[in-house]
């Protein structure tokens, strides 16, 4: 055998798994199809600016020394010191709905106080829900799948509070429309409300260079532009991979972060989809995730007048987390202002807005010719839309932009332009003081971009609603890790890579190999 293990994908899970295997002298290679590492959380340069693909916040923030938490577990497994991550906490975040706002930060008591203030009759239910969450062991990979909505409704009666609590958790990690699996809800509740948000001064680049440096130091091999075309099996056992170039790499183990449906196709060809030979999980009609997103990044010359770090908003009191009928749903989303972390050095002010998007509609648009750049509308500069005072959050501004008729939007570029303008209009000033006159530069990506760069089908950032919690695929030696093992986000995906490498490669070798 050429390698003990081949890892598909140099995202957070692939790099973390690679570190674990290289640390114990396994012959390991990480194969990445793109020309840069990072996957869904990578980085790029745009008009001279260094931008992050995804990073809003690292979840799971706990201070150094907090015991038994995902972040501390991750640090130990990768043998990093807390301070090496260079994490700086959020100021606070908001859940902003038409009829109520809840503020939270990295101290859970403050969220509890907000619930008591805004929903006094629900506080006992909220406390009971919290106790049930604390008592639940989300690391039990064999726990039955149950609906989080059902559990939450046993404790919370007001649908507004229920939806407000779900909103950030869904945006940051639900592959399922409208509902979440209870175990996933618990993971997200702890990582966002009970632990918290932070970011390194230098953003995701910092995390990625820590990981890639450690991996290389340990002798791990990383190959870019090395897309896997096929996973090779013999008698239902993985024996290696074939690259796009035709090169064959033999290995005892294949760990894939490409996604469940995608990995299935790498084994079984196009037919793979819908005929999951990969066993052990209840089949779902369509395993491809339905939730994709657009994200717009506005680089500003002056920050909007708010200290909030992240705002999870909905312009409807009933929060709709589902694939929209139109290109995007601009009436709910996430607004992130990275400059509002407590950073030691100032950074360029940005407003990032994430909206749920319809993959099929975006991919059906004509590419058009030329650039697909988003322009800053000239009236933003001249019409004196000067920073207004923030609304009280009660009402949506009456002069709402009309939602565009997407059938008339004929090219991809025009659609991007349209939706950029609408997504900005839909958040100001109800959730954020108007910042339009301060925009210097705009970039935007769509579901199409996500699939192009990461290979995730349907632009599904959170993967398939079907997860392989143990990583098993029904094929010996082939393991799913990352998003479709059920742990996502930067910390979650990295922990997934670690635990799958431990469980399926390292443990096996301590158990079976004789001493050298």
């Amino acid at each position: 055998m050429e390698y003990d293990a081949v890892i598909i994908g140099a995202g957070m899970s692939g790099l973390a798994a690679g570190i674990r295997l290289a640390m114990f002298d396994k012959r390991v290679v990480v194969l990445e199809r793109h020309y840069v590492w990072g996957g869904l959380n990578s980085f790029y340069q745009f008009k001279g600016r260094q931008l992050d693909v995804g990073l809003h916040a690292m979840t799971n923030y706990v201070p150094r020394g907090a015991k038994g938490k995902p972040l501390t577990r991750l640090l130990k497994q990768l043998r990093l010191r807390h301070e090496q991550l260079d994490l700086h906490e959020q100021s606070f975040s908001l859940i902003s709905f038409p009829s109520a706002k809840l503020r939270f930060d990295n101290d859970f008591e403050n969220l509890r106080g907000e619930v008591r203030r805004a929903f006094p009759r629900e506080i006992d239910g909220f406390d009971a829900l919290t106790r049930e969450i604390v008592a639940f062991n989300e690391l039990d990979l064999d726990a039955p799948q149950i609906s989080a909505r059902e559990v939450v409704r046993r404790h919370i009666r007001e649908s507004l509070l229920e939806d407000m609590l779900f909103c950030p958790l869904m945006f940051y990690g639900s592959a399922r429309e409208h509902d979440m699996d209870w175990d996933q809800f618990v993971v997200m509740f702890k990582s966002i409300y009970m632990e918290g948000f932070a970011r390194p001064q230098a953003g995701v680049r910092h995390v990625l260079s820590l990981l890639t440096n450690r991996y290389r130091e340990l002798g791990g091999e990383l190959r870019l532009r090395a897309g896997v075309k096929r996973i090779l099996t013999r008698e239902n056992e993985a024996v290696g991979v074939e690259l796009q170039s035709g090169e064959i790499i033999e290995a005892d183990h294949v760990l894939s972060s490409a996604g469940l449906v995608e990995t299935n196709k790498l084994v079984n060809g196009e037919r793979g989809i819908g005929v999951p030979s990969m066993s052990g999980h209840r089949p779902e009609a369509d395993a491809t995730g339905k939730l994709s997103f657009t994200e717009t990044i506005s680089v500003l010359d002056a920050p909007p007048k708010t200290d909030a770090t992240i705002i999870f908003f909905s312009n409807r009191d009933r929060f709709e987390y589902r694939c929209p009928d139109k290109l995007c749903d601009v009436d709910s989303g996430v607004i992130c202002m990275p400059q509002n972390f407590k950073l030691p050095k100032p950074i360029d002010p940005l407003v990032r807005i994430t909206n749920i998007a319809n993959y099929a509609k975006w991919t059906a648009l004509e590419r058009g010719d030329g650039s697909s750049e988003v322009l800053i509308p000239s009236e933003w500069k001249v019409s004196g839309i000067r920073s207004q005072v923030s609304g009280n959050g009660k009402a949506i501004p009456e002069t709402r932009y009309p939602i565009p008729d997407t059938s008339k939007t004929d090219t991809y570029t025009q659609a991007k332009q349209n939706f950029y303008e609408h997504s900005v209009a839909a958040v100001t000033p109800a959730h954020l003081p108007d910042f339009r006159s301060n925009v210097q530069l705009v970039d935007m990506f769509t579901p199409r971009t996500i699939t192009h760069f990461t290979g995730h089908e349907g632009g599904a950032v959170y993967g398939s609603p079907r997860k392989s919690r143990t990583g098993e695929t029904g094929i010996k030696g082939l393991t799913i890790m990352g998003t479709d093992q059920g742990f996502l986000g930067i910390i979650g995906a990295a922990l997934s890579g670690i635990s799958m490498a431990n469980r399926w490669v390292l443990k096996e070798s301590t158990a079976s190999e004789p001493i050298a």
Partner: protein
């Protein structure tokens, strides 16, 4: 290796695994888990490091023997040969 060296070898491994922990004042007769944030994943690392550094294999059934520094020393006495000595 003598007992003091074995103890130091274990402390070195723990300091590498958990760089945020203070390992300078560990009590030899108190369970390591009670003195530090170590979970089963970390014990797997201790076992793998013992194998990597000293060629000693600790089967699953003997993990309990690694509960305290004293019990580590007892269990590993005679088993640890330092890499330099081996060469």
């Amino acid at each position: 290796m003598n007992d003091a060296e074995i103890k130091q070898a274990i402390i070195d491994i723990i300091s590498d695994i958990a760089p945020d922990e203070d390992t300078s004042n560990l009590k030899p007769d108190v369970r390591l888990r009670e003195q530090m944030d170590l979970d089963s994943m970390d014990f797997l690392d201790i076992v793998m490091e013992l194998r990597k550094r000293y060629g000693v294999n600790v089967p699953d059934t003997d993990y309990m023997q690694l509960a305290t520094l004293d019990s580590c020393v007892n269990y590993l006495r005679g088993k640890l040969v330092s890499k330099t000595a081996k060469v």
